[in-house]
């Protein structure tokens, strides 16, 4: 902490030492590298923050989950209601993620490869699910497909149940996760450029050959990255799903909803056991994410576009 004005002045002096022309050591040092005390302060502060908000809660999840021993932990996971929640979560992700994969590729293709009226609007609309609260996303589907909703009567007449049933959960999840793949893909496709695709065309490739042999390999790391993030969100979504689910145990409960139900019925160990599965998923996602980000960066460094193209003399 900066205790007094003298201290502040000293830190400031050190921070801007690179400006002083008479200090020969500072000339060698990179201008953006902070000096000793400031650095310690920054690192310490960051670590403290991570401790308080990440490591301790993370550890708490696993300790609480295993409080009653490994037997109880396994018991909590394999009981029918838990298994059905896990199955529904997997099913939801298995439908929502491929849907968004197709949508994401189509949307980013459209936005990066074509000029058309309303392009900016489309680009903004893709972000809409990020901007609205997930609860509202759930409400939209209740409003449309619920019993009192716009299509409610028609659906009831045909004995189709959307809200408070699996289709509603999948719809809400798809809506909430729809920006993730497109958002990752658009900048990567932009950077890859059109030239290689044009080259493929002039060499006689048809549209599919161009897409699968040229476009896709060029954006694959960005695409996988988007898939991982999209999947994580699809499995972890709470708000939107909560509104359309109806919380029917064994039928319309996903893992996050089941965690809440267990918690509210004071079954803490079981609640944390399921939560630990979601946490594991998050950790795996993080690992995959950083791995993929590194691969993507390496791929873009190796691309001819970013290599030292000598300027025309």
């Amino acid at each position: 902490m900066l205790s007094d004005e003298g201290e502040i002045a000293r830190v400031a002096r050190e921070s801007y030492a690179w400006l002083a022309p008479h200090d020969p050591a500072s000339a060698v040092r990179r201008a953006t590298v902070e000096r000793g005390r400031t650095r310690a302060l920054l690192i310490g502060g960051t670590l403290l923050f991570l401790m308080l908000f990440l490591f301790i809660p993370l550890a708490a999840v696993f300790t609480e989950a295993l409080r009653n021993g490994v037997g109880a932990y396994v018991q909590a996971i394999v009981q029918p209601e838990a298994r059905s929640a896990i199955a529904l979560t997997l099913l939801t992700a298995a439908v929502a993620v491929p849907l968004n994969l197709v949508f994401g590729i189509a949307a980013s293709w459209l936005i990066t490869r074509f000029e058309f009226r309303g392009k900016n609007l489309l680009s903004a609309m893709i972000d809409l699910p990020l901007a609205v609260s997930p609860v509202i996303a759930g409400m939209i589907y209740v409003l449309l497909f619920g019993e009192q909703g716009w299509f409610g009567g028609w659906l009831a007449a045909h004995h189709i149940k959307v809200v408070f049933a699996v289709p509603g959960i999948i719809l809400a999840t798809t809506f909430v996760t729809c920006p993730f793949i497109a958002r990752e893909l658009i900048p990567v496709m932009e950077a890859a450029g059109r030239e290689e695709e044009e080259a493929a065309l002039t060499l006689g490739a048809n549209g599919w050959q161009m897409f699968f042999r040229i476009t896709l390999p060029n954006v694959k790391w960005g695409l996988l990255y988007g898939l991982v993030i999209c999947n994580a969100r699809a499995m972890g979504e709470f708000g939107a799903v909560s509104v359309v689910s109806g919380h029917i145990r064994g039928l319309t409960n996903t893992m996050p909803l089941y965690v809440e139900i267990l918690y509210n019925s004071y079954d803490f160990a079981a609640s944390f056991a399921i939560a630990s599965l979601l946490t594991l998923l998050a950790l795996l996602t993080l690992a995959a994410k950083s791995l993929l980000a590194r691969r993507a960066r390496r791929a873009s460094e190796a691309s001819p576009v970013h290599q030292s193209v000598k300027p025309a003399a």
Binding site: E195, E196, E198, A199, A200, L201, T202, L203, G204, A205, N206, Q209, R213, I214, P217, N218, A299, A302, S303, P304, V305, Q307, V309, K310, P311, A312, A313
Partner: protein
């Protein structure tokens, strides 16, 4: 194969890239599209390739209409300025791509593909690089891979977009001589885009000069250099000195000083303004006045490094002028900065302005 474009127009938003361009390229020619940036030369090349659709006008290959043919059906080889090599494929696979994407009944056997790729890599002197990735090659090598890849599909036309633009001067000179030789061997109709007049004049049989989306002049390098049709062409092909003057009594006066003009009919142009162009090596330097045929100027800078000596001067009315003399004449004159000399244009080109 011959290429014909007629009355091509193309705009991007409010920018007119091509404005009624008509051009015929006979079979086997090596043609340069030359012009400053924004002149429409690359757009014209992309329209020929089918990568861009014209707003109006026709493209014909061998007299057959091709305007609505897609790029993949035109069978043209296109070489991009930044190579556009497939970065995730080896050099070998890059060259093989055009053969591998053919429909099954037209696709050569794996053995034939290998033989063809090896042959092409040999042609571009890169037979050792087949297993490399494009990122492991230098710019000049990448451009040769791009050329081999384009030739693999046996295109009827070869189109090159600023093929040497991204290379340094030495490699560029080597590559353009090499392209010239390659064309002499293969006789494939080729069109390349360049903004470098030296490159265009050296490599092409025929040069088309474009400016503001229009063709200024098309002809052999010799015709263009010695008989430029417009002031723009004169200006664009090589260094030039420009004098603005007014025609009076069959002579041209530049701020009151008469400029000698050889063999031009000026009688009918009385009172009109005129632009007089003189190439630097045709602007003679004398130490003494040459009667009415010379005007004084002061030497401002001398560059004697090179086959000729380049002299920069400032005319008595304040214009920057360039002259070139050989080393022998330079020593005879004993020029130094601040020397006052007398200039007489030996040959020049006059454009009367309406």
């Amino acid at each position: 194969m011959s290429i014909e474009v007629t009355h091509i127009r193309k705009s991007f938003g409010s920018f007119v890239a091509l404005d009624d361009v008509t051009l015929a390229i006979p079979t086997g020619e090596l043609v340069a599209l030359l012009g400053p940036s924004g002149s429409g030369k690359t757009t014209l090349l992309r329209i020929i390739a089918g990568l861009e659709a014209p707003d109006a006008g026709l493209v014909r290959f061998d007299r057959a209409e091709a305007t609505n043919l897609s790029a993949r059906d035109r069978n043209v080889g296109f070489v991009f300025q930044h190579y556009a090599l497939f970065r995730h494929m080896t050099v070998f696979e890059n060259v093989a791509f055009g053969l591998r994407v053919r429909p099954r009944r037209l696709r050569p056997s794996e053995q034939k593909i290998r033989a063809r790729v090896q042959e092409l890599l040999g042609l571009v002197q890169l037979d050792w690089a087949g297993e490399r990735l494009p990122s492991q090659l230098s710019g000049g090598q990448r451009q040769r891979v791009a050329l081999a890849r384009a030739l693999a599909v046996e295109p009827r036309v070869l189109l090159l977009d600023e093929p040497f633009g991204a290379l340094d001067a030495k490699v560029r000179e080597e590559l353009r001589r090499w392209l010239r030789r390659l064309h002499d061997e293969l006789h494939i109709t080729s069109v390349f885009v360049t903004h470098d007049q030296e490159e265009a004049l050296e490599v092409a049989n025929k040069v088309v000069v474009l400016n503001n989306g229009r063709i200024e002049q098309a002809g052999t390098p010799d015709e263009l250099y010695h008989h430029p049709a417009t002031p723009f062409v004169y200006n664009f092909l090589g260094n030039v000195n420009l004098f603005h003057g007014r025609v009076s009594d069959g002579r041209i006066y530049v701020r009151g000083v008469p400029i000698a003009v050889n063999g031009h009919e000026l009688a009918s142009a009385d009172g009109k303004s005129a632009a007089v162009y003189v190439r630097p090596h045709l602007l003679e330097i004398h130490l003494t006045p040459q009667g009415e045929n010379s005007f004084p100027a002061t030497v401002s800078h001398i560059n004697a490094a090179g086959p000729t000596v380049k002299v920069e001067l400032i005319s008595q009315w304040g214009d920057q002028l360039h002259a070139e003399v050989d080393h022998e004449r330079f020593r005879e004159l004993g020029l130094e900065p601040e020397t006052v000399v007398h200039l007489s244009p030996r040959e020049n080109r006059v454009f009367i302005q309406a």
